[in-house]
Symmetry: C2
DNA sequence: CGTACCTTGACATGACTGTGGTAAGGTTCG
DNA sequence: CGAACCTTACCACAGTCATGTCAAGGTACG
């Protein structure tokens, strides 16, 4: 069974040991622990770490951006709330005219498609 | 059709005019403009602004986080890359059962994010 | 025409992110 | 045993976020 220490994982992924510990603290990549408390990175974790570095480099994504997506996944209520916000789910007030609804629909598209 | 200036919109949403301009710069809530360049907020924008404030207060979400989700919407390649990363991020631990691995495979294809 | 808005741009600041150190102490292994 | 790792817990620092304020000039309207 392959398991690497924090320094070995760092060598193999391009991250520093310091950053590996930081990534764990943010919840992005959490390795197993040995009986005496040493971090043990397996091949799947190395892959995650490499992919994370690529993601950051290729798209200029911040770590906390990715961390937020992880959070979205763990908190369905939050995800739903964000989805509703994105969809502009809040509709015109009661008693709104037909014209209001049409304008809202048009703006909804406009908002979401802005370049 | 109702349209409010930045100060009027601020009064009605609890944001400051400064923040309304900031929110526009981040791409979160972009109002129309009058011929002479004044921002014009309609009722749908006010609603978006109120909901955004609620989102932040209720879930302690940063503007940055919401902006990133908007970005995911606009950049399908990025969204796909993040989804792929996430699918690996929850890989079962080492002693995982066969059932865990099957569930993980299924989750890979799950629709994780705002569609 | 004056006043009260609006515009952009700049400077300031506290909190947090990302990253590197360093210190004090525990673990592994030749 | 001793060297070379590991652990957590701090200090430091540039950069960004979120927010306010202020300045110089344009617009709306009684």
């Amino acid at each position: 069974m392959e398991a690497y220490t924090v320094s070995q994982a760092a060598e193999r992924t391009g991250w520093s040991p310091r950053m590996l510990r930081y990534l764990e603290s943010t919840g992005l990549v959490i390795p197993e622990r040995s009986a005496s408390g040493y971090r043990r990175y397996g091949e799947p974790e190395l892959e995650l770490l490499r992919d994370l570095a690529n993601l950051r480099r290729r798209f200029e994504v911040e770590l906390d951006d990715v961390a937020f997506v992880v959070r979205l996944r763990r908190e369905p209520q939050l995800r739903d709330a964000v989805e509703r916000w994105l969809a502009g789910a809040t509709v015109p007030a009661e008693g709104a005219s037909e014209a209001d609804w049409i304008a809202w629909e048009q703006r909804k598209h406009e908002r979401l498609l802005v370049a």
